[in-house]
Structures are given as structure tokens and as C-alpha cells.
Symmetry: C2
Subunit: 331 residues, 2 copies
């Protein structure tokens, strides 16, 4: 067991980029990968590459989860989808990992309902790994729990600390609380209570972090409720694309600016890469009884390769067990 399962049909660039990522991953990590999806379509992609046939196995499925599918309905209505079958594999193979670029909502619903929670964990959380100058920051919850209790947020901090330590190789992860002011008494009732619980949690709590400081806060883990996290996630995406689109139209405005843009192009491309969530591979669904890694929906082969890599480390470092152990230490 201890298998690696990949959703071959999830995301904007499936199956082509997913299959390419799997081929690259088998070569670099020498681990066998089970790709779930339409056998014919996946074979057609595989035929483009040279690879070790012993390291790739296809598990044929007939359905595909679409972003439009109602997440809660997917388990019942798309039983033979690559995503549902993939999640179910983790029930038979509790130390397996499943990596998918498919619908976040469906992955969350499927993961929670099919696998259940780690014993003692009150709520699973969706995470995202944010780019920052000093390295990656894990932000959670970004949408699994619109209504939270303070104790959930403390557990989010604990789970993400274990993940950051194990998978992102951050020795002693610093935990910040997203808030509307830096002083301890800031925020709404939920955040005031969370602040005092975090102080007593045994985590390396560095205090409140205002949203203007999310990039470069010095925190390795940033905790918030799922409503706030989802607002942050989507605002960051929306604002970045708006600024880059406006920049592009500024450059296209005249001959003078076009020449300027041409000179800047390679540097701008590099700069844009910094903001690209794809560079950070995947982010885990934390708290469910199974290693579920969500890759960005628009993942290319490189991004998905990184997500597979994270999945492998997640597994090799016994992250699920570490979370259970840490739960005993953390109040």
C-alpha cells in the first residue's frame, strides 16, 4: 500500500499536463503512480513519453467531476468519477495520498464525507500556500468553514504547523492570526477569543497579522475563519489579475510603451512568476483521515509535479500521524 493516486481528469489542463507531471514524477522520485481517469485518454497522453511502465498504472473511471457539479452531490451522483474513486482509494489504503486539480468544493465534500475527520479534529480546513519574499506561508481556512469557533482556528494553526514542519521543511513554524489590528484586543469576538487560546496553545504564536502585511508577515502559518480566508484568497487573485491586465493594456497603449514593454518582458515574466500560486504546487486538505492534496485548477505539468512531490513528502513524513500526535500536545 502507501500508494500515490492522481486524479487524471481534474483541472483545466487534464489529462495532458497531469500525465506529463506523472511521467516526470516517476522518473525523479522512482515511486509508482496510479492515475485515475479515462484509460484511453490517459494512454494517448502516455504514448507521447518514454517512461518506466512499471511505475505508472491506470485505474479506469468513466465519469468526470466538473466545477459546476454541486459538491455535496458528487459522491452520490458521480460514483465512478476519477475524484470519488480516488478519494475512496484512501479508505482501503490509509497511508496513500491523492492529488487532484479538480473542483475544490467537491474534493472538500468528498474528502470530509468519505474519509471522515482525524480523531479529535473538530473541522477539516482548506489551505493555500501563499508566495512571500521569505518563502511559503500556509493560509487556512480558505473556505471549508464559513462559521468557525475559536477552538477550530487553534486546531487549524496546529495542523498547518505540522504540515509546514514536515512538508515545507520549516523548522519551527511561526503562527499568526489574521486580524484587523495588531494589538491583542483587536477584532471581533471570535478573533479576540482565538487570540487568547492561541497564546496558551503551545504553538509558536506571533500575534495578530493585519491583512496589509500578509505578504511578508514573518508568519509561516496564518490562521483565520473560512469566510475571511476565502475573501482573502479571491481578493488576492482578483486584484492581481486586474493589476496585471491593466498593466498589459497600459503597455499596448502606444508605440513608445510597446517598446518599453518589450524591453521589460523577460523581467516582468519572472516577476509575475513570483505571484503565481502554481509555483507552490498544491495545498493539503487538513484534518481528514487521508492525505488529500489539492493542486491549483489551472495547474500545468510543473505545478502538478510540485503537488505530487508535496504529496509524497506528506506521506513519507507520516503527516497524518504527526497531526494526531500533536493534537495530544496542543490544548
Amino acid at each position: 500500500m502507501n500508494n500515490i493516486y492522481v486524479d487524471g481528469m481534474g483541472g483545466d489542463n487534464a489529462p495532458s499536463e497531469i500525465v506529463k507531471a506523472c511521467v516526470d514524477a516517476t522518473r525523479d522520485f522512482e515511486r509508482k503512480i496510479h492515475i485515475l481517469g479515462d484509460e484511453e485518454a490517459i494512454q494517448r497522453e502516455l504514448a507521447k513519453y518514454e517512461y518506466d511502465k512499471n511505475l505508472i498504472e491506470i485505474i479506469h473511471t468513466t465519469e468526470i467531476v466538473e466545477n459546476e457539479d454541486e459538491p455535496a452531490m458528487v459522491i452520490r451522483r458521480k460514483k465512478d468519477s476519477s475524484m470519488v474513486v480516488g478519494i475512496k482509494k484512501l479508505k482501503e489504503d490509509p497511508r496513500g495520498v491523492f492529488i487532484s486539480a479538480g473542483s475544490t468544493g467537491a474534493l472538500l465534500a468528498g474528502g470530509t464525507l468519505l474519509l471522515g475527520r482525524i480523531k479529535g479534529i473538530q473541522r477539516p480546513a482548506l489551505t493555500i500556500v501563499l508566495p512571500s519574499e521569505k518563502g511559503p506561508t500556509v493560509l487556512l481556512d480558505v473556505g471549508a468553514n464559513a462559521d468557525c469557533k475559536a477552538s477550530y482556528l487553534v486546531q487549524f494553526g496546529m495542523m498547518a504547523s505540522v504540515y509546514a514542519q514536515n512538508v515545507l521543511d520549516i523548522k519551527s513554524p511561526k503562527v499568526g492570526l489574521v486580524n484587523i489590528g495588531s494589538e491583542p484586543n483587536k477584532g471581533n469576538e471570535l478573533y479576540k477569543e482565538t487570540y487568547s487560546l492561541l497564546e496558551q496553545s503551545g504553538l509558536d504564536f506571533i500575534g495578530n497579522v493585519e491583512s496589509r502585511d500578509i505578504i511578508g508577515s514573518g508568519a509561516d502559518v496564518l490562521v483565520c475563519d473560512g469566510f475571511t480566508g476565502n475573501i482573502i484568497l479571491k481578493l488576492t487573485e482578483g486584484l492581481s489579475s486586474f493589476i496585471f491586465a491593466s498593466l498589459k493594456s497600459t503597455i499596448m497603449g502606444s508605440m513608445r510603451t510597446k517598446v518599453g514593454g518589450l524591453l521589460l518582458k523577460p523581467a516582468l515574466k519572472e516577476f509575475k512568476t513570483k505571484f503565481d500560486y502554481k509555483e507552490y504546487g498544491g495545498a493539503p486538505l487538513l484534518g481528514v483521515r487521508g492525505g488529500v492534496i489539492k493542486a491549483h485548477g489551472s495547474s500545468d505539468a510543473r505545478a502538478f509535479y510540485n503537488a505530487i512531490r508535496q504529496g509524497i513528502i506528506f506521506q513519507e513524513k507520516d503527516t497524518l500521524e504527526q497531526i494526531s500526535n500533536k493534537l495530544v500536545e496542543t490544548k
Copy 2:
């Protein structure tokens, strides 16, 4: 009465840019302006300009509210500050307006405690006017109320609609609810309840607006609780400055990019202006019994001039009375 009061000592560029804005405003609007602050410092600035001496009057005050001052303490500890005296003027002169670029927290606390709420308004709200391609959008609450009830949010929508109609000249303001999904059943308990109240409110409610769509949502008014609004406000500021700073360092990276940057400079400057909150002048503190306009802390003369202009329209259009009237119509 019906006076215009200006905080001569508030903001990063006081009193010089504030005084310049007042001089420009008296010339263009032919209204008398009372500037509160250190008489000598203000006279020194006024001496630089030609202006109608009948249209500017100084009200001497001896103290200055700093951003570091604990907002709730300002009324008691800095009784002779330009801000506290200015707010108090609205008690004697209920149809007056007060414009300040000083501490937002102190202005909120002072406005709420000294002036009280408009009859029937449950909570005052801080607003901000966001730039968008199609024109300004009023976002509120951006920090006055960290904990909200659904009924507060409906009143925020109502007050901002009156403001948008009166002061920003938007005929029939469309109201959106900031949320984490576009469907009616999205969000946490507060937002689900607010959605159904807004549907019945008589406002032109266009539904949920995800944070990725805040710019270009088509809404003229965007409603949220003060915690969420403050997160949005500061994340927008933080992310924009981070992107522009990174862009600048990209341009400075090599000779090639420097030349490119030089060619783009005028266009980039224009583009940056689009994102500059200062261009939109001020934003009102809505719900208090008085016309209080908050200008951006780093307002230059042009931004503050716009804030004064908005204050004058606020007054001339009887905005406070309109809010009271609308309160009767809106459930």
C-alpha cells in the same frame, strides 16, 4: 450656520496641503471655510497664497490628534484638538460638515460619542470609495463594527445608497453583498440572513459579489461587516503597494529594464493613479448625526480638495435628512 469645518492638523501633509486645498476650494466653490488648528502654522501657509480673506476663518486649537492616540481616549485627553473641536462644532451647527484627514479611529470614536447616531440607525459605518473601471463604488463597513447583525448591514446598504445617489450622482445605486460565493445560500450565518433581508429591503439589491469581483462588480454600493471590510481595505492597500514596489525593483534590475521603465513611465504613472484612493477624495462616516467626511491620511491638496467638495455636496443635498427619510421606507 451650515458651515464647512476643516481639520487643519490632520493627516500626513497637514497643515500645508490642507491649507492649499482650502484656498483652492474657496476660490472654486465660493463657500466660507473654517480651518481648525494652530493659528500661526495655518497663517504661515495661507501667506503663500492669494485668496478671499472673507472666505477663510481660523479657529485656533492647541492640540493635535496623532495616529498613536487611543481613539476612545481622544475626546477626554485632547479636548482642544482640531479634531475634537471640529466634531463638536457639528453639535452647535447640525447642518455643518467636518472634513478631516486625521486618525480614522479617533474620528469614528469622536463622531459616534460626541454626535450620536441618526435616530433609528443601529450602528454608524466607515466607508471607503473604491476605484473601478465604471466609476466609484462605496464599500462599507470598513472597520467601525467588527461584530455585526444582519440588520446593521441592511442599514449600511441603505445609507450608502443615499450617499451614492446624493453625493456621487448615481441615479439608482445597485447594492451588492460581499460574499464567498455568488449563489444566495452562500456565506456564513450572518451573510445568509443579510441576503434575505436585503432581498426584502426595497434597495436595488443585485445579490452576492465575490471578493475577486469587487473591482468591476457592477455594484455601486458593497456591503459587509466591519471585520471583513477592514480585511478587504488593508489587503487591497498592501497587495497594491507590494506589486508596485516589486515592479519598481524589477525595472531597476538592469540597464535594459531601466530603459524600458523610462519609456513606460508616463503611462505607468497614469495607470497607478487609477488605483490611488486619494483621487476619490473622502469617504463619509455614515450614521452619525453630522456630516463627517474622512479624507485619506496621506491626502495631498488635490485629494483633500475633492473631500471638501464631497462635504459641500453632502451638505447641500441634505444627505443626513435623506438618510432619515429613507429609513422610513427601508425595512
